[in-house]
Symmetry: C2
Subunit: 134 residues, 2 copies
């Protein structure tokens, strides 16, 4: 398929797909016209990229892990065995994500506490922060 279709099916912009290629995350074939020619598997690959990006991993890291999860067949996204040389690196990233989850959880608790401490709305002096003119 061409870039537009993949963009629609994977819910990303064409620009993003070109960027991913530039970063080595995707390497589509080319039609004689020069148009990019993506395969079906790329849809799933892009989804994985989005998951990892959403987790804050930079494209350079994703480029390393992607070939380790080439494909397989499964709804949950099964994986193939990968490259043991990157293992400590991957474990480091995994731990960084765990730490990030801890941070977010702390922030979540903080916000939840603030929300819980908020007097219910409707009956208050009203003078707090300027609240900014929106």
């Amino acid at each position: 398929m061409r870039i537009g279709e993949l963009a629609r099916r994977a819910q990303v912009s064409g620009r993003a797909l070109r960027y991913y290629e530039e970063q080595g995350l995707l390497t589509p074939d080319r039609q004689p016209s020069g148009y990019r020619d993506y395969g079906e598997a790329d849809v799933e690959t892009v989804r994985r990229i989005r998951v990892l990006l959403a987790a804050g991993l930079p494209t350079s890291i994703i480029a390393e892990v992607l070939p380790c999860m080439v494909d397989a067949a499964g709804p949950g996204g099964a994986l193939a065995p990968g490259c043991p040389e990157l293992l400590p690196h991957l474990e480091g990233e995994r731990d960084r994500i765990a730490a990030a989850i801890a941070d977010l959880t702390a922030a979540h608790r903080l916000l939840a506490a603030v929300i819980a401490a908020t007097p219910a709305m409707g009956a208050t002096p009203g003078a707090c922060a300027p609240a900014d003119g929106t």
Copy 2:
């Protein structure tokens, strides 16, 4: 205390502290010399700022929630009741954080799966990704 001490005690750069002031997160007094003069409570405030920043909240939002958690006395960071007008906004942020946690958790699972699928190190072809010259 002056900016250098706060920087050391709160584990941030002086530049960051000036930036926080610029964004309205901190408003230290000034000594006649023009030097910033921070109070003890600012150490904790900066820690909270860091937690929320680490969670991906922009400084503009943090500026809104900070006055809602003015202070109190507690090891976990107790809170004062806040501004009900911001409540829906805060709930939105809280949900966004929850979504981010979900993303991170998904990525964590993905990485953990890759790691688990990695053949243990030591006995493999070795040809995988170029591994990049570092």
